[in-house]
């Protein structure tokens, strides 16, 4: 009940932060979450006070995700929900503000919480809510040339509407890049810079992302990021024509690597919203699969990292070790990736004794192979040389930009959803969270190194402690318009799914927020002042999952959503 009391504290802070103790409704959508609805006029002020209030109690407010929803069919207004994570108090605080049509405007809180920048820009693109006072407004998700005033996630936008290229181009030309002029001038006098495009199609990026890098010689003087090329329109799809039991299979296809964690986060969100009690054995099984996923994801990343450092043998070695994990995943789930295991309310398959034994065997193999090889590889002069002191992200920047996961932990931020907001079976064990302060690429490598070994330990512990029992709770019709937040610690960091249930076991709103969504904005900061040769490894060091980040993007201007198939296949390349 320590947790409940933590949420009480949060509620207390919220109440005293409310302007004049009024102007807001406070509620508890579910365990570990507090919801407050304030008038948009007070929003900025309220957030300021919140930060102060929690600051007094030594807790920091981390911006987790922001969701704009078109509630016009329900109560005729638009609503922006800022989900703030108060990790120290193990609570997600949902701050909602309404805005009436036809021109919904909600003051931007980005000046207070810079990490909110992307969320607000995305909301502006997809739902058409304006955020006056945003320091750097402009398109984030929609391509340049997308017609003004067309907002795909509004309820009056049919999911299967095809927006032909011609129509899309009315608004301007479709450039794969920036429409705005570059910040760094050609520099006639002084030391001029050249623009080096990194991506969308570059051997170092295994997914289409675009970094515009400005160099003087090989010194990087600045960088810009443009992403969201991987258009799949998943949110729209889920909200339009899928049932809650179908969405897990869509959710896990958000990413080709950390798909299962998305499925879990989604299910947790729905279960929380509908107050479904999931049987303990199912929770353990979920945890085991999550850790197995972390194992293969990290091993994959190590491989990619070595590849980018030109150390092919390391690449091969890591992927060879990873193969064992994939085999076990196949044995456990029937699929090389940990796909198809989750349903709302539990899991679909049991881990019987024989499979458990296979897992244990795999763990030994992986632990030995990994430890041995990395032990040698991390001694190699040119390898370590290339990552020590490279791509440093200071703790301050990490906090400011809301970095999550190993990336944040390598910059000295001790945050981990498994500990801060225990889910699945993580409440029953204690998780070691490795933290380093250097903030460079090497630190990120070492943090992940520790995490691999920790995952091995955790899986062993879960297998030991797994109780008998059912696999799935009975799920009846869900109550409509219930809000739920589900979070997991994906291999790359906090993965948050925000759900509003709909009628007849459908979803009214679903917004997954992948960890890379918070980490990518730190890349330009890290690139500045670095050498060009380090750019790829720096970009890779956050283990960016671009397809995760981009999943939500609406109908692809180039193809249009012709086949739901398009929305379902795909997923991450090696980098994500």
């Amino acid at each position: 009940m320590q947790r409940a009391s933590a949420s009480d504290v949060v509620e207390g802070v919220v109440r005293e932060a409310l302007p004049g103790g009024r102007g807001g409704v406070v509620g508890r959508p579910h365990e570990g979450a507090v919801l407050v609805r304030v008038s948009r006029r007070f929003l900025k002020e309220f957030v300021k006070r919140l930060i102060k209030g929690f600051g007094r109690r030594g807790a920091t407010v981390r911006y987790s995700t922001g969701v704009a929803t078109d509630y016009r069919p329900v109560d005729g207004s638009f609503r922006m929900a800022h989900v703030l994570a108060v990790d120290k108090l193990k609570t997600y605080l949902i701050v909602e503000a309404d805005a009436p049509p036809p021109h919904p405007r909600i003051p931007s809180i980005t000046p207070e919480l810079p990490a909110a920048g992307w969320a607000e820009r995305e909301a502006a693109d997809m739902v058409g809510v304006e955020f006056p006072g945003h320091p750097s407004p402009g398109r984030l998700v929609l391509p340049e040339g997308w017609p003004e005033g067309v907002h795909p996630l509004r309820k009056d936008f049919p999911y299967d509407r095809k927006l032909g290229v011609a129509e899309a181009l009315e608004g301007g030309t479709y450039v794969r890049g920036f429409s705005s002029p570059s910040p760094h001038s050609p520099g006639v006098e002084g030391r001029p810079t050249a623009l080096i495009p990194l991506g969308p199609y570059h051997p170092a990026l295994h997914e289409p992302e675009y970094f515009e890098i400005f160099v003087d010689g090989e010194r990087i003087v600045g960088a810009r990021y443009r992403g969201f090329f991987v258009h799949r329109g998943m949110e729209k799809l889920a909200e339009s024509r899928m049932t809650i039991d179908q969405v897990p299979f869509l959710a896990e296809r958000i990413c080709g690597i950390c798909g299962y964690t998305h499925a879990c986060a989604y299910c947790q969100a729905v279960e929380a919203a509908a107050r479904i009690e999931v049987p303990e054995r199912a929770l353990y099984i979920r945890s085991i699969l999550l850790e197995i996923e972390r194992l293969h994801s990290h091993l994959l990343w190590f491989g990619v990292a070595f590849h980018l450092l030109g150390f092919e043998t390391g690449f091969m070695a890591m992927w060879r070790v990873r193969e064992a994990v994939m085999r076990v995943a196949e044995a456990l789930t029937g699929n090389r990736k940990t796909y198809g295991m989750n349903l709302v309310g539990g899991v679909r398959r049991d881990i019987d004794v024989r499979r458990a034994a296979a897992v244990v065997r795999m763990l030994d193999e992986v632990e030995r192979g990994f430890k041995e090889f990395c032990g040698h590889a991390l001694k190699l002069g040119e390898v370590v040389e290339r990552v020590r002191g490279v791509g440093v992200l200071s703790r301050e920047d990490a906090v400011k930009l809301g970095a999550v996961g190993p990336h944040a932990r390598a910059s000295g931020l001790a945050i981990d959803v498994r500990v801060d907001h225990p889910y699945a079976a993580y409440g029953f064990v204690d998780v070691e969270v490795p933290v380093r302060d250097e903030g460079d690429v090497l630190a990120r490598i070492l943090v992940r190194y520790e995490e691999v070994l920790e995952s091995v330990r955790l899986v062993r512990e879960f297998l030991r402690g797994m109780p008998a029992g059912g696999l799935r709770a009975e799920v009846r019709d869900l109550p409509p318009l219930r809000v739920g937040v589900g979070a997991t610690e994906a291999p790359r960091g906090e993965d948050v799914h925000y759900v509003v249930t709909g009628r007849g076991n459908t979803l009214y709103r679903w917004r997954p927020r992948a960890p890379s969504y918070m980490n990518i904005p730190t890349v330009p900061v890290m690139l500045e002042g670095e050498r060009l040769a380090n750019a790829p490894i720096i970009i890779a060091s956050i283990d960016p999952c671009f397809s995760c980040t981009d999943h939500a993007v609406v109908i692809d201007v180039r193809f249009g959503v012709r086949r739901p198939l398009k929305a379902l296949v795909g997923g991450g390349g090696p980098l994500g």
Binding site: P197, E218, L380
Partner: protein
């Protein structure tokens, strides 16, 4: 010289050139096999590099529109320089076209392979090409420093630049000079570095520069560049072998066999080394080269004082 003799030498030169052209890709194939084995893979067939080259040669030219004619001519010129160098340097047969030039000529021909490559790459407006180009140039500047010192040491010891009187540089007995040993060691390292092997392979860093100097070339042009680079690599090794060991001791056939064998052995050793190296960050590469330069510099000073 008499016509028949000229013919013989011309034949030898042709033989050397043909040898270099054919063997270089084969050796690359061998190296890929070796690296694959270290990575516990089966790896591609030994002829794979040749298959790739042939496929590319068939493709004709793929290149940029509108960045000067030189961009297009560069691969051919590079190949020309490489072949010429291979005709001058004794490899499979004892005497190449040594009458065409001496050590300096040889070095300059080899250097001009990378010079021309860099020029061609930088002529394409591709930022990757240009970056690759200046890396190539910088690397050759750095390795030239070491190589120049080492060769100066050797030449100073011999009082000549003629290949005939320089090979082998290390002579036991009366003509022995300790400096030449150091110098040859330095040459060995430079040959490794200048052969663009890991960790020195920075001009084409695939993950950083997307093949750098080769980025804007395709088809036959790409094949020519790759082939010329491989030939150059083989020549560097051959130069080292010629400097390090005497080869005049055996019948032509035995010599050819022995030379080929040791070339193969050398590239196996190199690829084993490569397989446990990452690509160095440029600063690191340069530091290594500076150390090599230091060594050869010591050799040079020693040589100047007659040791």
């Amino acid at each position: 010289m008499s016509g028949s003799a000229a013919l013989a030498v011309a034949g030898a030169a042709a033989a050397n050139a043909a040898f270099a052209l054919t063997l270089a890709p084969l050796l690359d194939g061998v190296e890929r096999k070796v690296r694959a084995r270290v990575q516990r893979r089966v790896g591609p067939p030994v002829l794979q590099t040749w298959y790739d080259l042939i496929k590319l040669y068939r493709r004709g030219f793929f290149g940029l529109r509108g960045c000067g004619p030189f961009h297009r001519a560069a691969p051919a010129l590079a190949m020309g320089a490489a072949v010429t160098a291979s005709a001058i340097l004794p490899t499979v047969t004892g005497f190449g076209a040594g009458f065409a030039g001496d050590l300096i000529v040889l070095i300059y021909l080899m250097a001009s392979v990378s010079t021309i490559t860099a020029l061609g790459a930088a002529s394409s407006g591709s930022p990757y090409g240009v970056v690759g180009g200046w890396r190539e140039a910088s690397l050759s500047m750095a390795s030239e420093l070491a190589l120049a010192a080492a060769l100066a040491a050797i030449a100073c010891g011999r009082g000549s630049l003629l290949l005939s009187s320089l090979f082998p540089a290390v002579r036991l007995g009366a003509g022995f000079r300790p400096s030449s040993v150091v110098a040859v060691a330095a040459v060995a390292l430079v040959a490794y570095a200048d052969g663009l092997r890991l960790p020195f392979e920075i001009p084409e860093a695939e993950e950083e520069l997307a093949e750098g100097v080769a980025v804007e070339y395709g088809g036959a042009a790409l094949a020519l560049l790759k082939h010329a680079t491989l030939v150059r690599r083989l020549l560097l090794t051959s130069l080292l072998l010629n400097l390090a060991f005497p080869w005049g001791w055996a019948s032509p056939v035995v010599r050819a066999a022995a030379f080929t064998a040791s070339l193969t052995l050398e590239s196996v050793l190199c690829s084993l080394t490569e397989s446990v190296c990452g690509r160095g960050r440029p600063a690191y590469v340069m530091r290594l080269l500076k150390r090599v330069t230091l060594a050869s510099g010591v050799a040079l000073i020693a040589a100047c004082f007659g040791f």
